[in-house]
């Protein structure tokens, strides 16, 4: 990873309990580090920033700050390959969701996600619909799409989702 020296005294030994109490994170302690997840992971193949085995190992060691503040937990694409293959049934995509939930509660959300929320609130979907898209749709005889930001905004308010700065 890097050459920095880590102070073990800053580790939180209860971090894995915290994750185990989170829906999806129940099986974290089952991991015996066989690395089946990482070896088959499409994201890990693309970037060495993401390594599910290392994340679980860090969490088990209690590296709370490092895990929550990192952006690597947000890289999981939830393809469920590791879920299928994990011999210990650790349910890694759901575990990552669990860790993300803790990170959100602690206020660690990567900027990209905040911007996506902004976009969702503004347009009701993750992509802005402009005349160009609807013209193309009309060419193929498809009905135009209209933006429905109001309803989505209403749902987001009810769910307590806030965008950047919120």
């Amino acid at each position: 990873m890097s050459d920095e020296i880590i102070d073990v005294g800053t580790f939180d030994p209860h971090f894995c309990d915290e994750i185990a109490a989170e829906p999806g994170g129940e099986h974290i302690r089952r991991c015996f580090s066989c690395s089946t997840c990482t070896a088959g992971c499409p994201v890990a193949g693309a970037t060495d920033k993401y390594n599910p085995r290392r994340i679980i190992h860090m969490a088990l060691l209690g590296m709370r700050e490092q895990v929550l503040r990192s952006d690597f937990v947000w890289l999981c694409s939830v393809c469920y390959t590791c879920y299928e293959r994990c011999p210990q049934d650790v349910r890694i995509p759901e575990l990552m969701n669990g860790i993300r939930n803790i990170a959100v509660r602690e206020g660690y959300i990567p900027r990209a996600f905040r911007l996506q929320v902004e976009k969702l609130r503004a347009h009701g979907r993750l992509y802005e619909i402009e005349d160009y898209e609807n013209e193309r749709r009309a060419e193929y005889g498809l009905p135009p799409i209209r933006e429905d930001a109001e309803e989505v905004g209403w749902i987001m308010d009810r769910m307590g989702v806030k965008g950047e700065g919120g």
Partner: protein
């Protein structure tokens, strides 16, 4: 094997099937069907003249399908008796138009198409079960590509490829182009140590246990390869190398010294290069945390061991138990490792658990010695705790015979039941089942137990917990709780029975009529009964009692059911505390009311015997915490019934759903 075939005191019955076993220790009667070989095994000299003329070509099972055999064949070169055999399902027959060529080719005229199978009755004193194991089929593990790529093989296929008696006569080549493989990878724990088992709805990707033999097999294979072809590059992918036996660590070290690479991490993906047939393996080396790519000519999947499916038939014939992983269960894991729970039956080899040759030989020697002890004794001693039928009281209904886990009760329609004392293990489920009190359980008679219930409830019945505990697990669990100094309420009064299956519904009814606030029935864990499966009857009877209590307006949760093993002292203490909490909710008025309600009411007997073949769903309710949930289960299987919320076993089926309904 040749020694066995030649030994004057051993009669070998190859190509035969056990059809029925009756009788008891020292006096078993075994019916064996000797299947027709269609070749006279005394006359056949195994000259092999019949083979080249046979037109039928089939994959050879012994060579793992890597070579072929004919419909007339010898299963493997060392097979005993050394005589040919015709697989009649594959053979075209002796009709001269169809075939019959082998008959013409045989000089000694020992091929007889009219040969019939015969049934043989044997009288034997002891039976040793050594039915072996199978290997895991890695088809569900699609990331290794076993079904897609020719050069991905199992360790068993590897064994055939490197064997001098194998299809390549020991020239080690890979399947796709028959060239020598120079770069070979081994993947460990294929089908072992996984949580994705058959019980898991996501599918069967193996078994939860460690298969014991695969690590050493791979190490042996790597040394064999290095001996034959020192320039071979070998890489082993593993999660833990378990080299625990005598000399095993030395072998492992030697393998490392000879240049075999051991990489900690299991491959996640295997890809084939279509032109060359080479394999590319993606793996994370967990010691460095780096994602690595390895190229191989051949990949060997070190497959785990699984129980043989055919063993299930033998198991049912002999009344044996099996553990959760499907292997046969011994009578005691430490003190009776080769005895089956049924007396006179012994287990050896991989039928009991996966093990290597040395352990199999050790266990087989032990089983033979145990059987010899039995056979050389003029008479055997049995425990005095056995059941006795009073022929005058017996109404010849025959309800006792099917509940006996040891088949120790002989009953024919119109005849009084009879207990075979030598086969009776003394659990007492028959005595609890008999509606006419015709069976006396020596040392645990009905009168004794009623007297104990009466004595418990004589003074301050409202303060007492009436507990029925089985001798082997729950009573011992209470002992463990005591010797470990666990604190629990002191007002529990334990009535010891040999098995929870001894608890007659009348005892519980009697206790409630005498003013018991709560009653607990406790036994060994559901699939772990000391008397094979006698505690299944306990569940059936308690189910009936719950129904009866509810019908007459008594809270069914006042009768509790628990499983507690001898080692679970802490669990016993916790159960006691929870039962005490429950008792505190029962008032004097309620007890009085119960006595009124149950006065003169018939004891509910649950005559229904579970015989549900199709898996059905059910809605279950925990009688401790009130939790309700739906399960899909097969009551005929060893289904552990436990509440997920409070881990109580007082779980009631409140609604049965037809299959497909859930």
């Amino acid at each position: 094997m040749m020694d066995v075939g030649r030994h004057p005191n051993i009669e070998l019955m190859a190509y035969s099937e056990v059809e029925d076993v009756s009788g008891y220790v020292g006096n078993f009667r075994v019916r064996v069907r000797r299947k027709a070989r269609y070749v006279d095994e005394q006359e056949c000299t195994a000259c092999g003249d019949c083979v080249p003329v046979c037109p039928i070509v089939k994959p050879d099972e012994f060579q793992a399908g890597l070579s072929t055999r004919r419909a007339i064949y010898i299963p493997f070169p060392q097979a005993v008796p050394s005589a040919y055999i015709i697989n009649i399902d594959e053979c075209l027959g002796d009709n001269p138009i169809a075939c019959g060529k082998c008959q013409e080719a045989c000089d000694k005229k020992c091929i007889d198409f009219d040969m019939q199978g015969e049934t043989v009755e044997l009288s034997v004193g002891a039976i040793i079960v050594a039915t072996g194991m199978d290997v895991y089929d890695p088809t569900p593990l699609d990331e290794y590509g076993y079904t897609s790529y020719e050069n991905v093989i199992t360790s068993l296929e590897f064994e055939r490829l490197i064997s001098a008696g194998g299809p390549t006569e020991g020239h080690f080549v890979r399947p796709s182009d028959r060239k020598r493989a120079r770069r070979i990878g081994f993947v460990q724990c294929v089908g072992s140590r996984t949580a994705h088992t058959a019980a898991n709805p996501d599918g069967q990707r193996g078994n939860p246990y460690c298969s014991n033999i695969c690590c050493m097999n791979t190490i042996k294979d790597s040394l064999l390869l290095k001996d034959h072809y020192p320039d071979t590059e070998i890489t082993v992918f593993y999660m833990d190398i378990r080299a625990f036996g005598k000399g095993f660590e030395d072998l492992y070290m030697r393998s490392r010294e000879m240049g075999v690479r051991y990489i900690r991490g299991l491959p996640g993906e295997v890809e084939e290069e279509p032109e060359t047939g080479d394999l590319r393996v993606y793996v994370e080396n967990t010691t460095t945390g780096v994602l690595e790519i390895h190229d191989f000519d051949l990949l060997v999947l070190s497959v785990g061991a699984v129980p043989r499916r055919e063993t299930e038939l033998v198991r049912q014939l002999l009344n044996l138990s099996r553990t959760g992983d499907g292997f046969l269960m011994e009578a005691h894991p430490k003190l009776k490792p080769v005895d089956a729970p049924t007396r006179g039956v012994y287990i050896a080899g991989c039928a009991e658990s996966p093990k290597d040759i040395k352990d199999s030989v050790t266990q087989a020697s032990a089983a033979a010695a145990r059987a010899e002890i039995l056979l050389s004794a003029p008479s055997i001693r049995v425990e005095a705790i056995t059941a006795v039928v009073d022929p005058d009281l017996c109404k010849k209904c025959g309800r006792c015979a099917p509940v006996c886990p040891f088949s120790a009760i002989i009953w024919e329609k119109g005849r009084a039941a009879q207990v075979v004392a030598a086969a009776c293990a003394g659990c007492g489920t028959c005595a609890a089942e008999c509606p006419f009190d015709a069976i006396t359980m020596r040392h645990f008679t009905d009168q004794q137990i009623y007297a104990m219930v009466d004595a418990i409830l004589e003074e301050d019945p409202l303060e007492k917990l009436v507990i029925f505990a089985c001798n082997w697990c729950s009573y011992a669990g209470a002992d463990t709780a005591g010797t470990s100094r666990f604190q629990y309420p002191p007002n529990g009064r334990i009535i010891r029975t040999m098995c929870s299956g001894r608890v007659r519904p009348d005892f519980v009814w009697h206790a409630f009529q005498k003013g018991a606030p709560v009653v607990l029935v406790s036994g060994c864990h559901y699939a772990d009964c000391h008397y094979i499966n006698a505690n299944r009857n306990t569940v059936r009877r308690v189910d009936g009692l719950w129904e009866g209590l509810e019908k007459y307006g008594v809270r069914p949760e006042r009768l509790q059911l628990e499983w507690c093993s001898a080692a679970e002292g802490q669990r016993w203490a916790r159960i006691m505390q929870e039962i005490e909490k429950l008792r505190a909710t029962v008032t004097a008025e309620e007890v009085e009311q119960t006595r009124e309600l149950l006065k003169g009411k018939k004891v509910p007997t649950s005559s229904k015997v579970w015989r549900i073949k199709e898996p059905t769903g059910a809605v279950m309710r925990c009688l401790r915490c009130g939790n309700e949930w739906e399960v899909v289960f097969d009551l005929a299987a060893d289904e552990e019934r436990m509440c997920g919320a409070c881990r109580s076993n007082s779980v009631r089926v409140i609604l049965k759903l037809e299959s497909g309904n859930s």
